[in-house]
């Protein structure tokens, strides 16, 4: 290709400008007092300056709109708007003009032109305008391809294209965590709590208009992000309605299986679909963005073959004084088990009673209750650990550590209090 070849002048010029929202002009207030050397001059100058707010000239944020000064960043879920102008720079009238704007992403090509109609003629110094909008649904390189074809007065068919490349970035970082509520005796899985951490990874503040969880068919959801106070729902985030760059916010949702699924819930194992998060935000002057996560999946809590849960435990106990806990042992497997309980002391927890006692046969889906006595030799928050269940049929040992925590205080303190 010969670069030095004199390039042919086109009669039409194509210009493209991204239309992000305009910004408000800010001025730099410099004031003085009457007795100062400039007298009222500074204040007069500020009053005459059209960009100041009349009557409140010191207010930095003015009312004057200024057009976007650079391409800026574009984020997934936002709307890409662009002005496309084809201007006749020549002195002759041009015929049969067609302007086509396509957006090439890494996976597809979209036509963005409002109309692909052919304009029959364009007089000198006039232009064809188009404003295109596109909600960005992909991340990465996008190329706006603008093609212009027209016919000169001599009947020559002309054609040219221009490419405008931009990168679409990710606006948010979303992390989720599930918590399983260990509620009552009967159900194995009942409520599920979802904590979603949403971080603003753009460079501008972001107003979170909506962050909601659209539950899957199995669940009902209640949002735990506001506190009802005297009939009014107050956001748990307080008066700060926006996220600064790199700020993270935690949203909490409570999911309950619908009754028709709740019965089966006890049987549900493995992966279940919880739902998806729907996030709507706004930035400068109401520039809107919206994203959804893909389906959030949750692993139903696996309890293994034998589940050990606590029924009762004191919250505070005295140092070196025995206390009781009640355990519930449930056979979650499909077979009958013959269990032996071993109790291993840790550095702080000492079990009372005989270790290695037979618990007898336990049939599938049945449970037994067990009261155990133990004491702690160390003060402070102590973790109850060291229970071992061995199934003699399969010679398999299940370990249960950190079952619960108790606060151990010196007995003298407790007496005093």
């Amino acid at each position: 290709m010969d670069v030095n070849q004199p390039k042919q002048e086109h009669l039409l010029a194509l210009k493209v400008m991204r239309l992000t929202k305009p910004t408000l002009f800010t001025n730099i207030p410099v004031t003085c007092e009457e007795r100062d050397l400039p007298g009222d001059l500074f204040n007069n100058l500020m009053r005459e300056d059209p960009s100041t707010v009349k009557g409140a000239e010191i207010l930095m944020l003015g009312e004057m709109l200024t057009l976007p000064q650079n391409f800026g960043n574009i984020f997934l879920g936002e709307t890409f708007s662009s002005y496309i102008s084809v201007h006749n720079d020549s002195t002759q009238t041009v015929k049969d003009i067609q302007v086509k704007a396509d957006l090439q992403t890494s996976s597809q090509r979209l036509n963005l032109s409002a109309s692909s109609a052919v304009v029959s003629e364009l007089k000198p110094d006039s232009c064809i305008d188009d404003v295109i909008h596109h909600e960005v649904k992909e991340i990465g390189t996008h190329i706006l391809v603008c093609a212009v074809s027209y016919t000169t007065q001599t009947g020559e068919k002309m054609y040219f294209r221009k490419f405008f490349k931009f990168q679409v970035l990710k606006p948010l970082d979303v992390k989720t965590k599930f918590y399983n509520a260990e509620s009552d005796l009967s159900s194995v899985t009942d409520e599920v709590f979802l904590e979603a951490q949403i971080q603003n990874i753009t460079t501008s503040p972001m107003f979170m208009e909506k962050v909601s969880l659209e539950p899957s068919i199995m669940y009902n959801v209640s949002e735990l992000n506001s506190v009802v106070k005297s009939g009014e729902g107050l956001s748990t985030f307080g008066s700060k309605t926006y996220l600064q760059p790199l700020d993270t916010r935690q949203y909490l949702y409570c999911l309950k299986p619908k009754p028709e699924f709740a019965e089966k819930a006890g049987v549900i194992k493995g992966v279940t679909v919880i739902g998806k998060l729907d996030i709507v935000w706004k930035t400068n002057l109401g520039e809107r963005g919206r994203l959804q996560t893909s389906q959030l999946q949750r692993m139903a809590p696996g309890y293994g073959d034998v589940r050990l849960s606590l029924e009762t435990i004191p919250d505070t106990v005295s140092l070196e004084e025995p206390f009781d806990i009640t355990c519930k042992i449930t056979n979650c497997s499909e077979r009958t088990m013959d269990l032996i309980l071993e109790m291993c002391n840790t550095s702080s927890i000492h079990w009372c009673g005989v270790s290695g006692r037979q618990l007898g046969k336990l049939h599938p889906s049945s449970s037994l209750f067990l009261t155990l006595s133990l004491l702690s030799s160390v003060q402070g928050l102590q973790s109850v650990s060291g229970l071992r269940l061995t199934d003699t049929f399969l010679k398999r040992t299940y370990e249960y550590d950190d079952i619960a925590q108790v606060c151990v205080v010196s007995s003298t303190i407790q007496v005093a209090s």
Binding site: P38, E63, M64, L76, D89, K175, K282, G286, R290
Partner: protein, 788 residues
Amino acid sequence: MLGEMENPDTSPENEPTSSNNAAESEATTIVGLPQTDPSEEQEEILLQDETIDLDADNFESEENVTLSEDSGNLLDKLNEQMMESVLISDSPNISEDDGGDVGCLQDIVDEIDSSETLGLDRITAKEYNEQVDNTNGTEHDISPDDSGAETLTMTNDFMQQQDLPLVEESVELQGEHKEELVTPSSKSSPPDETIPVCTIFSHSNSQQSFLIHDGFESQMVKSPSFGTEMRNAVKAQTQVVQPSPSLSNFFSDNGTTNSSAADFFDSFTTSSTFISVSNPNAAPGAPEHGSAPITPETTQDPVGFFVANKSLDPSASSASVEVPQSPKPFSQIHSVFAGSDDPFATALNMSEMDRRNDAWLPSEETRNILLSVATQQYNPVFIDKEKLTMPGLKFDNIQGDAVRELMLRFLGEQAAMKRQVLTANSVEQTFLGLKQLLNSKNWRAAVDLSGRLLNAHGQGYGKSGQPTNHTTDSLQLWFLRLSLLVKLGLFQNAEMEFEPFKNLDQPDLYYEYYPHVYPGRRGSMVPFSMRILHAELRQYLGCPQESLDRLHSMKTICIKILDNLEKGFAEDGSMITMTNSNRQASVQLWRSRLGRVMYSMANCLLMMKDYVLAVDAYHTVIKYYPEQEPQLLSGIGRIFLQIGDIKTAEKYFQDVEKVIQNLVNKDESHNKIIVLMNRAFLHLGQNNFSEAHKFFTEVLTLDPTNTVANNNAAVCLLYLGKLKDSLRHLEGLVQQDPKHYLHESVLFNLTTMYELESSRSMQKKQALLEAVAVKEGDSFNTQCLKLL
């Protein structure tokens, strides 16, 4: 703006082929265009890869001590590259349909492919994919309405794959702590698993997440270049604060205009007569004419204090005895700026006003020095040189007329000759001349002239660090000069010259320090506005926190002074008798000063983007300036619009309407305009440009000359796709009323539209330059013309 949007390689200048004949150009364009493009792209990608790798390595080695580093890094690197290639190459459309049109992208892909020395990567990549499909995906893509999720999920799987080696490790570690009651949501993917993903993409976050195994799953959408892009963007933003024009421009300006200025400076260095404006004994009126030989006082201290490391100068101490009259230049200012009829009444009034206005509370240390000065009037007091204020010009000739330079460059010498602006030489070398320059918006020239006057005062270029005397007018000159520098956006220069003033609390900045020159006068020589300026300056240099600190200490002093007044003392806490009306006036003054400090704080918080505190601060300002309530509430509404919180903005705009309803003058047009403007802005926030345009036009029916409404209406037209209408509107305004519309924001919009309109924007911009040349002074910010 257009330039940034366009890929440099696709802009008309560098697009050598696309303009060929229709049929052929299709083919050539495809080959031709990306030829330079992909290589650049390639570099970019590689570069980014490198940085990403580095980061990953860092984290890797920190975290996984047990893991063999080699294998980890290698795997990382492989995956990194694969992600890159997969993202682009796996997209179905590219390789299949309209091969021609996708030329550009495809070439990029090709380049990337060829650059990969490991041809196996992609095959392994696919294998990974298949494996990973079985592992349960706890990471999720963000994808609007799920479209396009296909390809993205694949890349996510990769990242999981990448983590696999870690999984075993972390499972072992976790074994001990496994909880029974609250189990992690999925056993196969323990919390640690996602960490490396974070390390690639979001830094600050990742740091935390591997310190605390919080069990959060990262919901990823992958964008290979993301990490670096972000950092760049952040960097770019921090640079924004820098003032635009560089000093060198002014120093290098050795043009014709300087000759007389040089004379001016030469004259005093060679002269042997010592006349000084700052020295009260000096003959007044010396600096009447620029060409007259003016000399500064010597560096001696005429009042007769010792600077600790200087020996006593007998001539200086003798001078101090004869010092009695009141300083002439001070009265000079007032004869120019205030104008007084009855000298006696004025004098009485003056002392009352002096006390009220100059009151300030020095720090403990400064107060002690001032006390010792007061008690040992005729004995020298030893004062450490450190404690003195020794300002001097840091650059001696800033003068330049950017408009004229642009004219020289674009319109030729002939046109540039026509440019007539006032310079420091063409006006009287007094405060009167300064005022003239200010009025004609020749602030650069005014800076020059203030420099000359300071020079005559012995605080000229290079005098910084040399002991000097301060007077009311020398400080007023400094205030004026520094204000102008700030107004011109020359923040760095202002900062340099402000530096010797330290925190404006040195003893020699108080009247008490000069008992002979200002007998009986007390308080601060530094004008209150200069303190405000001093505090605000830091925020323009990127240190808003320091601005806040300074403003807070000002606030404390204002409150203390108001407290003193309330208790029946004078401003500074001394016992004097004050008439009720004087006390009232004083309270009023100090309340409004306190309000001014609050205003600055609010502005500063706004600059810091701490919107919650800024809004609170503006609410406080309303208490001090209740008459500005509608404007301030509207301003708060606009802040919320800026954040994107349209609902709260609407609430504030409604409050404004309520406030205005209750005003006596609610039907006056300026109040109606506020309401209409707010409605227009609200529609703007709701993306309804046509409604916004309607309301801006409605403002114009009330006030056809409203610059803001005219400009904003034109901006709305552009967003509605009516470029020509918008241009016609703005152009007409600039022609009809250049006084109001040759404002940088309007001109910026206009030139942006010129650029969008046609390839001949240059001529049109130059026409604007000519209009500016006729109307505007040397302080005009030429950047908005976008000629360079």
